[in-house]
């Protein structure tokens, strides 16, 4: 059974159709990359998967659970999310933040020790154990994302959703974070901007444009120069990574054959 089943989902936001008849499935243990230009519907699709956005048509199932009719707590027991809106100025300790992940599993005095054990395990898995007593606002961007990933793991999810987790991170921390995500062995859907990064870390890619799913498949299948050009309006060449053999997207600068530059001239 697939971990995530998005079946003919459309989302109407005001006057715009943010998601237009999208269907896709994510297999257990798979890392699916969600690509597309700004405003193409990546975040909206993620929100629809974890149920804070209701689809105007279609259904979403998480591990067999119908998200549109389920209780929030039941969804949160199956699926953890790294949103882009997490407040950075809340004076919580790192441990407090990670323990938030136990909320959907209920909190009683009896489970307090178990919760603490799970929290320290999660911090160890994201290599953030040394941060446990720090105040969350004092962390750097890279540390913050590792702690939030630990919070998501503490939630004990079967599906992990990440909305542009590498934003504001330098290359080292981008690679560390996505490497850590890949090593978890948890089913993942991750929205990304960097095509090469996506190609390197995702098993399959889904390309969205204007709310529609325009391609779904392996990085090699999805990232063809013609498709990248049509979606992002940027000319590119496709190389092969000398070490991994994965696709390497070499974007052309605007004065080297991009469609926009040609139209202008």
């Amino acid at each position: 059974m697939s971990s995530v089943v998005v079946d003919r989902v459309s989302v109407q936001l005001g006057d715009t159709l943010a998601i237009d008849d999208v269907s896709l499935e994510v297999r257990p243990g798979e890392v699916l990359g969600l690509l597309g230009p700004n405003g193409c519907g990546k975040s909206t699709l993620l929100r629809t998967i974890y149920g804070t956005q209701r689809p105007s048509a279609g259904t979403v199932h998480l591990d067999g659970l119908d998200v549109t009719s389920a209780r929030r707590r039941d969804v949160a027991r199956r699926c953890a999310v790294l949103t882009q809106d997490h407040a950075t100025d809340v004076e919580l300790s790192v441990l407090d933040v990670v323990l938030l992940g136990r909320i959907p599993h209920g909190a009683s005095r009896r489970s307090a020790d178990d919760d603490l054990r799970r929290a320290s395990e999660a911090l160890a898995r994201t290599d953030a154990t040394h941060l446990v007593h720090r105040a969350f606002p004092t962390l750097s961007g890279g540390e913050r994302q590792r702690v939030l990933l630990a919070r998501a793991l503490c939630q004990d999810p079967r599906v992990l959703l990440l909305d542009e987790p590498t934003n504001h991170l330098d290359v080292t921390h981008q690679l560390d974070l996505l490497g850590a995500v890949g090593d978890l062995g948890v089913t993942c859907v991750v929205a990304l901007h960097d095509l090469t990064l996506a190609a390197a870390h995702c098993d399959r890619l889904a390309l969205l444009d204007g709310g529609r799913l325009v391609a779904l498949g392996t990085p090699e299948e999805v990232l063809t120069p013609a498709r990248v050009e049509a979606t992002y309006r940027v000319a590119c060449d496709l190389l092969t990574h000398p070490r991994t053999g994965r696709p390497l997207v070499a974007l052309a600068p605007r004065d080297h054959g991009s469609p926009t530059a040609q139209e202008a001239s």
């Binding site: 804070t52 929030r72 809106d85 809340v90 004076e91 300790s93 407090d96 938030l100 959907p104």
Partner: protein
């Protein structure tokens, strides 16, 4: 530790007044009343009466009122994610004050069921109106809650001002009591209502402690953790309206405590509500006990309204803390 400081402060506060009673005597009188058995009275009957009948209820009232306002502020600041939120900002205090003042102007007397009930009703009306104005498409937005609350506060205060300006002169002292706050007429019988509100409200807040943590990190994050933010906000509005109503009914409008105490405590022990809530209860109680001691002794035999002293003591302290402990500094 903090609880010990509070108990010590209570004993010292009881001993302070027009007629001084030594702290040791205060402690002996309290022990004699609280513990069963024979006690050899080394104090006068007058001292006993001063301590047990007049000052203790008043100091306990200060404890209850301070603690309750601090819990209300903590709850409200968490759900609207705004450190300025307090029962005034969200309209509950001014709603309760309007209810009480309205009842007084119509001839009710203090303390009375009618005044308490009207204060409750006023706070409840404020909560409902804030909820209705801030909800949109089944969700309640935090900024709209604050804006609606502030506007409502001004409206209620204006009506209260109108009533005060046109009231009989004979009724003015009672009205001013509700506008500026005072616990000078506290009796044992008046303690039950705020005590009940404090216990129930604090129990609720502790029960929801982690959800309040999640609420502070953002609506979307909280929702992804399974927290129903709209339900949490409605619950908190109901609980805080009831607590505010209970406080205003017995103590009038006391500003600043609800805003400053949670904020100061957050700077000291962090924002995690499991640690924060017990700390705010004690700190709120401590602040109002101290402030009330000043209120009844500084210009003796006259009483200075409690709300005036809270702001006079609290504001400079808060500003000092703001300067010395920059928000976001490492602990």
């Amino acid at each position: 530790m903090t609880t010990f400081v509070l108990v010590l402060t209570i004993v010292l506060s009881i001993g302070t007044g027009p007629v001084g009673v030594p702290p040791a005597t205060v402690a002996k009188i309290l022990v004699a009343h609280l513990l069963p058995g024979e006690h050899v009275a080394t104090w006068t009957a007058a001292q006993d009466q001063i301590v047990w009948t007049f000052r203790l209820p008043r100091v306990l009232m200060a404890v209850l009122v301070g603690a309750a306002l601090a819990v209300v502020g903590t709850l409200l600041q968490a759900i609207v994610r705004n450190p300025l939120a307090d029962p005034y900002v969200l309209g509950a205090s001014s709603g309760a004050a309007l209810g009480a003042v309205g009842a007084l102007a119509l001839g009710a007397s203090v303390p009375g069921l009618l005044v308490s009930g009207s204060a409750f009703a006023g706070a409840a009306v404020a909560g409902v109106v804030v909820y209705v104005l801030a909800s949109r498409g089944g969700r309640i937005e935090s900024l709209r809650m604050v804006l609606a609350g502030v506007a409502l506060s001004y409206l209620f205060s204006a009506v209260t001002g109108w009533i005060t300006a046109t009231a009989d002169h004979g009724r003015l002292p009672g009205l001013i009591f509700f506008l500026l706050g005072s616990i000078s007429s506290a009796t044992w019988a008046m303690l039950a209502l705020p005590a009940l509100a404090l216990v129930l409200g604090t129990a609720y807040a502790l029960h929801r402690a982690r959800h309040l943590d999640a609420a502070m990190t953002g609506d979307e994050t909280a929702a992804s953790l399974g927290v129903d933010m709209t339900r949490l906000r409605i619950e908190v509005l109901v609980v805080t309206a009831a607590m505010t109503g209970a406080v205003v009914a017995v103590a009038g409008g006391i500003g600043f405590v609800g805003m400053v105490v949670p904020h100061v405590c957050r700077l000291l022990v962090g924002a995690g509500h499991r640690a924060l809530l017990p700390f705010t209860v004690v700190a709120g109680a401590l602040l109002v006990v101290l402030v009330d001691t000043v209120a009844r002794t500084a210009a003796s035999p006259r009483e200075i309204p409690l709300g005036v002293v809270t702001a006079l003591v609290g504001a400079p302290f808060f500003l000092w803390l703001l300067r010395t402990r920059p928000v976001g500094a490492e602990r």
